[in-house]
Amino acid sequence: MNDTKYDSNSLLRKGGTHIDSKMKNTLRTTETMAHTAPAEPLTAEARPIQQHQRRNPPIAGELAAIAQAQQGDGASFEILYNMHKRRVYSLCLRMLGNVAEAEDLTQEAFLQLHRKISTFRGDSAFSTWLHRMAVNVVLMHLRKKGLPLVSLEETLEPTQEDGPRKDFGTRDLALSGSIDRVTLERAVEELPPGYRMVFVLHDVEGYEHNEIAVMLGCSIGNSKSQLHKARMRLRSLLRQKADGRADA
């Protein structure tokens, strides 16, 4: 239920950074929670937060924008959108491999953010919270389409390419130092959807296997297996690309 007032005038107001005393209190509370939260046992839910915070450091002005957006300030919500749009969209695009769908779901993720931002309490980094929301939006979308999140074919019938025997007797070509990020990005795009999903969630986004298993409705072993096959497939793809460059 959305109980946040959306002020259409404030949306058009750029750089609205005035903070009244009520907002200052909210901001102080949020900052205090972020910096002095008591140590808690690391649950499956909380454990990845540390990794996400390391990879998603706080952005200057984010806390103020959150506090004001929680009060219904549209300009602050737009600031949050501009801070996080690239990361959320890239996540959606990597998971889906389709520009139109990625844009639709980016839109849906931010609309959901607007509905739920008042519930953000600062227990985790805002970016962690938002990215998890975006992941759930994508997974929900795929479930609605009836697409398996983990491909049975990929799970049960590994190809020769994925199997370990391929590496027996092959020449020793170390990838280290031979690939750039653009090449890796393109190779990730070529992964089958089931492999790509686990690879993006684990290796790119930093989720752990227990979390991925819950998200995708598969076993932890299955998540590990899919990730391994994804990396093996990437190795093969990257070798092909390296060979192509060498032959050119």
């Binding site: 990625a102 931010f110 370990p164 280290s176 990020r181």
Partner: protein, 80 residues
């Protein structure tokens, strides 16, 4: 580091069957006995570690089109 005659494909096969769990043990993978003698499996592990390391460095490089914010803006205005 060379592949000894004792490092049969069977040993490589057994090692590579364990690979999905290999990277989650928290142990120093280089210390695995098989890797001390098998160049192929060592190269494989190095490549997989390299891919995982590079993936962590992938930056969000794509921006949504301006239409995305316009749609969000319109939807929020309708709600209000």
């Amino acid at each position: 580091m060379t592949t000894k005659a004792t490092d049969t494909p069977k040993e490589c096969n057994e090692f590579q069957q364990e690979l999905p769990n290999f990277f989650d043990t928290g142990e120093d993978q280089v210390e695995h006995p098989h890797l001390k003698t098998c160049e192929n499996c060592s190269a494989l592990v190095r490549d997989l570690e390299y891919i995982a390391a590079q993936a962590k460095l992938l930056l969000p490089i794509h921006d949504p089109s301006p239409a995305v914010w316009e749609n969000i803006h319109s939807a929020l205005l309708k709600k209000s």
